[in-house]
Symmetry: D2
Subunit: 244 residues, 4 copies
């Protein structure tokens, strides 16, 4: 069932055409990561960016909005945009820079969808489905303890929760954005791998909390633990300072 769209055939993994917005996002991101644009530094004006990249105003505005939503730049009214935060090297080392905007969007969408899957799983999961979530969790924890976190175990954990939600439409949705999700997991894990032992333990703890809440049949706690985990993942990916 996994890997096929709703009523569709299994899909080939062809890399999606990248929008101009996401290309521009990627180029600005690269300059922030490399330090060509430093924290606190002012970005060129919208007008200057239009000219330099030969793109239209709406494209520039959307790219800046996405950088802002991701916490990388901030706007000061009537003054311009400034670099707020320098993400870790890993962010563009493990994913093409022009894929990062899409990858961050996938995490945002998953915060909505997986909060719901975790809630429903706490209410509806059968004993066998709980077991499958736990098995994925144990595999993930083993790989993390060995400092070789498994992308497949991580995705399997999230998919097992979705399958336990009793609503296949959620599974279809997660699979439809699987490519971005797997890439997001790879980036996050690559950054975690290089991080402290404390960080690895935090990530393990976050997954364990999701499972405990589902197994304990606490829907509010399960939804919250899932959304919090994805929020943390988003911050680990973008925030250099947190990369202890």
């Amino acid at each position: 069932m996994i890997g096929a769209g709703d009523g569709g055939l299994p899909t080939l993994r062809i890399r999606k055409r990248v929008t101009l917005t996401d290309q521009l996002y990627g180029q600005i991101l690269e300059q922030i990561v490399s330090g060509a644009l430093k924290e606190g530094e002012k970005l060129p004006s919208e007008h200057q960016i239009c000219d330099a990249f030969a793109v239209s105003r709406p494209v520039v505005r959307e790219a800046l909005r996405k950088l802002r939503d991701d916490g990388l730049i901030e706007a000061r009214r009537g003054v311009g945009s400034f670099v707020r935060r320098r993400p870790p090297q890993g962010l563009i080392q493990f994913a093409p820079a022009d894929s990062v905007a899409g990858l961050m969007r996938a995490i945002e969408a998953r915060m909505t969808v997986e909060k719901a899957t975790a809630r429903y799983a706490a209410i509806r999961a059968g004993a066998e489905q709980i077991d499958r979530i736990e098995a994925a969790l144990i595999a993930l924890e083993a790989s993390m303890r060995a400092r070789a976190p498994s992308r497949d175990a991580d995705f399997a954990f999230h998919l097992a929760v979705a399958e336990a939600s009793g609503n296949e439409a959620f599974v279809t949705m997660l699979n439809a954005t699987r490519e971005s999700t797997e890439r997001a997991i790879e980036v996050a894990q690559s950054i975690t791998r290089g991080g402290s032992q404390a960080r690895i333990e935090r990530v393990m703890r976050e997954h364990r909390q999701i499972f405990d809440a589902i197994a304990g049949r606490d829907a509010d706690a399960a939804g919250l633990a899932m959304a919090y985990h994805l929020l943390q993942a988003r911050q680990r990916i973008t925030d250099h300072a947190r990369e202890e």
Copy 2:
């Protein structure tokens, strides 16, 4: 962009294999709609259903859970399950009975996803995107006034909101469940078409409220209006008594 999965090729519309659970759901549903099982009547026991349909206990349990979640039957602890509500004829006239469980699941998933798209659209939509949502709304309203509600205009409205959310992953997700969604729209519209003028006006009002909240930049109101509209759609589909 629409119609293709994330990183995939446009998908053929092949009808998905129907699970045993959804087949069983469909058969019980048919008996409720036909009146073979009357409102208030007790269903056969889980054990009897296992035997009659030659399916396993977990299949029976899941089918009953879905019927319960959809408000069609209710469980009385230690006694059994009873028919709670008789849905309108249109429900199985305009969709195969074994597709109804999936169609209801798609609406549930959309309540989660589209609440988020409406919220984000209220915050992020550009002027051009607001115009596109309004254009779809006007086309939908015109078709409804002519008592020939347009499925495509309805889907276009919801998709325009998703596109205005500034997050393509949501668009990908809605497209991935497009088949079920379009069928749900068809069923709801067929029932609305046969309903009172008051009902048609209520449905128009619901869409108008979503648009007003997005255009008015009120994220809370937009998310709420969208979720409420889908909740009402779900009830119109299943509740005979409301079919005024």
Copy 3:
């Protein structure tokens, strides 16, 4: 239990000192309702308002923000604030103008709190508590049919839902804002009373939906129906055009 704070004695109803912000809000509101400031008209600048009312800049900003949040004015970046909507006469006829900002805030807070009480009531209410909610609903409906909607029946309905939530802290919270809530109910009812039959039926329908969802044990639907009802109440209070 009702009427007493958490751990406190029953409180005297003394009218709270009105903040400068809410006084300023009330004065601008009066001019919008009277038509001295017309729909679409530009408000004086922040600076001019500071001078005219002899208040500080933060007071002006907060008053304008509240008017904006309530949908009465809108800001156009770099241009100023404009009247967006003219509320019905009833809004300042049945409540002191300087109490309206607080009354709107109480509704906003109740959207959060009562969404939760309705959800928990659907999960936890005992049979007796369901009966009490229904009794309050029937009394409210009778008063509405007689075109003399009862404030006490309305408040009793909302309080019965809170009591069925199984969490007394919510009851304490609703009672702590009882004065504003009762005034908001009075204003809404006075406007409803003067409205069309269709409007009265819509308000009855909203309450009925909340009850049905709680009695049907559907937590998502119950929370949604409650939040939607309060959103509608807020709009009925402020939106002249909707006052059919």
Copy 4:
């Protein structure tokens, strides 16, 4: 303003009459904490509890439901209730056992209310209000580093967030449940004080995340960080195993 109900006089702190339900909850809790009832052990039947405590069936049911909602016992259908988790000694050492049910309810209600205050604060807080939240945070952190966590600094932090929400009704609501909240903070801090350095750092980190999200104007992250913090507080209070 703080300490007074909406439109009321400052309230005396008189200890509220304890309901039979909460007294029964407290007595069962004491037996779980003392080990008289061990983890995994079966509780007496509802009938036996009715007789032993001379209370009615509804009182027993509500007490058991609250214990279940708080994760202390679990029901196995058709078998009975079993002790699920033994809370730390501190829970009844620092608060009367018959106040614990109310204290847990206050945390649950705050999860709803403070998620909203954190969201609105991220959207609406002025610079001065952000400063006040940060000042409370710094005072709280200083007290925690000195291993003497300050109850007043903790409450002040949460109140400063509510005041920054731009909605006084939320402040009124928090003050109305202040007694329970302060007691919950005392219990949580007493347990934290006796815990590991890692635990103290986690609690500090949770507060810091709430502040960062508000200061960064990220409403979703702020609401989530606040709800997560209160969820963790609830678990720290009740879960012996987590008391590292």
